[in-house]
Symmetry: C2
Subunit: 501 residues, 2 copies
C-alpha cells in the first residue's frame, strides 16, 4: 500500500441524497448511498473503503442532512472500529452541492488554511479503486497549485444525461494528464452529444473535485457572493474567535440558539450546484481524464454500464424465474418475480412495493415518489425492515389495533430502557435467549417461551448471548406508531422520539 498523503488532505463525502432515483429499493430513510446495488458493499461504504488508504479516518468527512446523520453513523460503523474517527458535517436542509461544499470548506479551512479537499459523491460506482487513487494523487498535486481540479470521464456513447467538460489538448499542463478546461456544457441534445463524442476532447463531468479550501472559498466569493457572505456568518457562529463554540459528536452546534441561527441562514440559501455555480464560471479549472471506470448510477437503467449481464443482456438478482427476456433488469428479494419475454424493462421488487417500467422511462420514478409523498402513504419513506444499531426490525403486518414485528438483536446488543403509553407488547422468542427487564424485575425468556409487557411499564430487551436473538413482537393498542416511546437509557446515545426504538 502506498503511503497516505499529508495530514492537510481531507476527503469530503457528499451523502445527502434523498433516495428517489432507485425507489423502491431506496427510501427517504434508506437512500441510494446506503444500498448495495453493485459490488460487495453499500455505495457509501465502498466510497469510504476507496479513499481510506489515502487519507486517515479523522480526515474523512461525511456531509449529510440532519435527518440522515445518525443513521449513517450506525451504517458506517459496520465497517469496523476505525470508522469512529470519521467526522460528520450536517446540512440543516438540502440546498444542493454548492452550499454543502461551502459548508465543508468552512470546517476544513478552520482546521487549516492549507487544507485540501477531495469532494466525492457517496453514490457513484468506481470498480477500480487503485486507478482511482492514482488519479487522485495527481489531482492533489494540481490542487496545490490553487487550481480547481476535476475528473473527466472519456465518453463511450453520445450520452444526453450528463454534463460535458471541454479541454484544449494544446493547453496540457506540465504535470502529466492535467488539462486546462475550456468550458463546461450542460446536458446536450443527441445531435450535440454525437458531435462531442466524435471531436474527442469532450469528457463527462464526474462530479468529483479536488481543491484547496482557500481556493474554493475564494471562487465562491467571486462567483456566488451571496453564498459566500452567508457562509462567513455561519463560520462566525460555528467557530467564534473566542472559542466559545461547542459541537456535538456529529459536529452540530450544541447551543440551540446558535444552531437555530445557522439553520435560519442556511434555509435562505439558493439551491445551486457546484457545477453550475462555480465550475462553469471559473477560469481556473483543470481536468484529469480519469483512468478508472465510473458510473454515477443516475437511474436503474445505469446498472447496464456497471453490472455484468447474461447472454441475453439481462441482469437478475434475488428470487426470479424468467422465460426469454432480453436486455432487462430484474431485481428481487425473497418474493418470486416471474417474467416472460420482457425487452428493455426494469422490474424492482421490495417487500411492500414493486416498480415496473421500460428502461427509457426509469428516471421518471422520481414522479412516482412525488405522487406518494402527496398521499398518506409510507412506501417512499421507510422499508419494512429497518436497520438499527442493535440489529433490525421488520414489520410483518399492521392491522386494526395490532402490529406484528420480527425483532433481531445482534450478539450482546440491547434496546433502550423504554416505555410505551399506548400499547402493550407480547414477545415470543423464536431463536436465542432474551434477557427481559420489566420494571424492577429481570428474567430470561428462552426459545419457545413468551412474555408480556403492559402499558406504562419500563422495559428493556437484551441479547445476553453470542448467537442472534429473534423475537416476534405482537403489539396491541389504538396507537401503534414508533413515536410512542420514552427512553430512560440508551447504549447508542439516542434521546429523541424519532422512528427508532
Amino acid at each position: 500500500m502506498k503511503p497516505r498523503t499529508d495530514q492537510n488532505v481531507h476527503a469530503i463525502i457528499l451523502a445527502g441524497g434523498s433516495g428517489t432515483r432507485f425507489w423502491p429499493l431506496s427510501r427517504e430513510t434508506c437512500p441510494k448511498q446506503m444500498l448495495q446495488i453493485v459490488g460487495e458493499d453499500t455505495l457509501l461504504r465502498q466510497t469510504i473503503k476507496r479513499i481510506i488508504s489515502f487519507v486517515p479516518p479523522e480526515n474523512i468527512w461525511i456531509v449529510t442532512t440532519e435527518d440522515l446523520a445518525q443513521d449513517l453513523r450506525f451504517h458506517i460503523e459496520a465497517l469496523g472500529s476505525f470508522t469512529k474517527g470519521i467526522q460528520f458535517i450536517q446540512e440543516p436542509f438540502g440546498r444542493n452541492t454548492a452550499p454543502a461544499i461551502g459548508l465543508a470548506a468552512i470546517y476544513l479551512n478552520h482546521l487549516s488554511p492549507k487544507s485540501v479537499m477531495i469532494v466525492m459523491p457517496s453514490d457513484h460506482a468506481i470498480p477500480d479503486p487503485e486507478k482511482f487513487l492514482d488519479d487522485v494523487r495527481l489531482a492533489v498535486q494540481g490542487a496545490k497549485g490553487d487550481y480547481l481540479v476535476t475528473f473527466g470521464i472519456k465518453p463511450n456513447r453520445p450520452e444526453t444525461g450528463y454534463g460535458y467538460i471541454k479541454v484544449d489538448p494544446s493547453l496540457k499542463m506540465e504535470l502529466r494528464g492535467l488539462y486546462k478546461v475550456e468550458g463546461f456544457f450542460e446536458k446536450p441534445d443527441l445531435e450535440t452529444a454525437k458531435r462531442y463524442l466524435s471531436e474527442g476532447n469532450y469528457f463527462w463531468n464526474s462530479g468529483i473535485f479536488i481543491w484547496k479550501t482557500s481556493a474554493i472559498l475564494s471562487e465562491i466569493a467571486k462567483h456566488l457572493p451571496s453564498l459566500y457572505r452567508t457562509l462567513m456568518e455561519i463560520k462566525s457562529l460555528l467557530f467564534p474567535p473566542d472559542g466559545s463554540n461547542k459541537l456535538d459528536r456529529l459536529n452540530a452546534l450544541i447551543d440551540p440558539l446558535r444552531l437555530n441561527r445557522v439553520k435560519d441562514y442556511y434555509s435562505r440559501l439558493e439551491s445551486i450546484s457546484i457545477d453550475y455555480g462555480i465550475m462553469e464560471q471559473s477560469r481556473n479549472t483543470l481536468m484529469i481524464p480519469a483512468t478508472f471506470q465510473w458510473s454515477d448510477l443516475g437511474s436503474w437503467s445505469a446498472l447496464d454500464e456497471i453490472i455484468e449481464k447474461d447472454g441475453a443482456g439481462n441482469i437478475f438478482k434475488g428470487n426470479t424465474i424468467d422465460l426469454e427476456s432480453q436486455n432487462s433488469i430484474i431485481f428481487s428479494g425473497e418474493r418470486l418475480i416471474a417474467t416472460i419475454g420482457l425487452k428493455d424493462m426494469v422490474v424492482v421488487d421490495t417487500p411492500d412495493a414493486t416498480l415496473v417500467t421500460p428502461k427509457e422511462k426509469a428516471q421518471e420514478v422520481r414522479k412516482i415518489v412525488e405522487k406518494l409523498k402527496q398521499t398518506d402513504r409510507e412506501e417512499h419513506l421507510l422499508h419494512k425492515t429497518v436497520e438499527r444499531p442493535w440489529g433490525s426490525y421488520t414489520v410483518l403486518e399492521k392491522g386494526n389495533g395490532y402490529k406484528i414485528k420480527r425483532v433481531v438483536l445482534k450478539s450482546r446488543a440491547r434496546l433502550s430502557l423504554q416505555l410505551h403509553r399506548k400499547r402493550t407488547e407480547h414477545w415470543v422468542v423464536v431463536a436465542g435467549i432474551a434477557k427481559v427487564t420489566k420494571e424492577n424485575e429481570t428474567y430470561l425468556v428462552r426459545t419457545n417461551e413468551s412474555t408480556y409487557i403492559p402499558m406504562n411499564t419500563k422495559h428493556r430487551l437484551e441479547n445476553p448471548e453470542e448467537e442472534p436473538l429473534q423475537v416476534i413482537e405482537v403489539q396491541n393498542g389504538d396507537y401503534l406508531e414508533e413515536d410512542d416511546i420514552e427512553r430512560f437509557h440508551d447504549d447508542y446515545g439516542r434521546k429523541d422520539h424519532r422512528p427508532r426504538s
Copy 2:
C-alpha cells in the same frame, strides 16, 4: 322469474381446472374457477347463480377432481344453505372433458334414462345471465330431439385461439335459431381466421353443450368405443344391479376396493376433449348463435374483452400507482405496484409472487408454472392466505424453527379438536374473544391476552361471538407443516391429514 324446467334437466359444471393460466392469482389449490377475476363473485359461484333459476340445486352437479372436491364444497357453501343440495362427481384423475362428461352421463343416466344435461365450464365469463337462460331454454328443446346442441359465439375479430363451428344457414331447423352444424374446425392461422370472420357463418366454439345423456352415451359408443366400454365397467361398479353400492356425501364409492377399481379404469383412459372426440365426429349436432356475451378467460389478456378499461385502455385493480401506461392490465392486492409507461403489458401481484409479461406472451405463464413444479417451491401450489370452512389463515412468515400465521374465525365457527406432535403454538388474540379448549380445561382469551398450547396437547380454537376473531399464532418446532395434525372432532366432517387445520 320464469319457471324452472322439468326435473329431468341437470346442469353439469366442469370444475376440474388446474389453475395454471391465471397464475400467480390461480394456484393448484385455488384454480381459476375459485377466483373473482370479473364480476361480483368467483367464476364458479357465478356459474351456479347463472343456472340456479333454471334447475333446482339437487340437479346441479359439480364435476371435479378428488383433490379439489372438498375445497369446492366449502367454497360454494358461501352462497347459502340451498347449496347443500348441489351434488359432486369426482374424477379420480384429470383426463380432459370427454371422460369427465361421460362419467357425469353415467350418474345422470342411472337416475333417469330421459335425463338431459347442460354442460357448463365453471370458469367462463357470461355477464348476461338472462340472455344465457333464454338460449339454454331453446337448446333444451333441441336436445330433446336427440341432437347434440352447442352454442356458437359470433366472432368480432379473427381470433386464432379458439376452435370454430361452421353452419350452413340454409340448414336452419324449424326451431328459431337452431342451425345444423357443417363442421368443427381447430384453431386456425390468422389468414384462415380472417376468412372465417368475413364469411359470416363461422362461430367460436363456446364449450357449452346440451344433450340427453342417452344421446351423448350413444355418440361415445360410436366415436370413442374404448371410452364407452370403460364407462360401462365403471357404471357396473358405481351402480350394480343389486343396489349394493354406497356413495359418500361427495358421491364417491365408500368401498375402497371398488373405488380403487374405478380409479384403475379411469387412470388408463385416453385424455381427450369432447370437442375433438365427439363434436368433430358426430353428424348429429346443432348450433345456436349465442345472444349472450361470453369469454372463456383463456389467459390474463382475455380480460380485455370483458372488463371495462380506462381512457388509456388500462385495467387497474388493487393498490396501484401509474404514470402514462397504455392498454395494460395491472392486478394488485395490498402491496403497491408502481408502473411507468407500460404498453400492452400484464402485471399481476400476489403476496408471494408477481408476474410481468407482455399481453401477447401471457399464455406462456403455463411454462412458468411447469418450471415451478420441477422445483421444491410452493408458489404454484398454495396462496399465503388459505380459505377454510371456519374462516381463513394467512402465513405471515416462515423462519428457521418458527412460523407465524394470522388466523381469522368466522362468527361462532371453530376449528377441529386436534393436537400436534411436533410443534407448540402461542396464540395472541388481536380482535374478538377466543374460547380455548386445552385438554380438559376450557377458558376465554380476550383481545390483548395470550395463551400457549404445548406439544401433544388436545386443543381447540373457537369463536363464541358474532364478531370475527383474529388470532396471531406463533408456531415453534423443528417440523411445521400442515400434515402434523391429529383430529378428534371436526364440525366439517374432515378426517384426513391434508393441508387444512
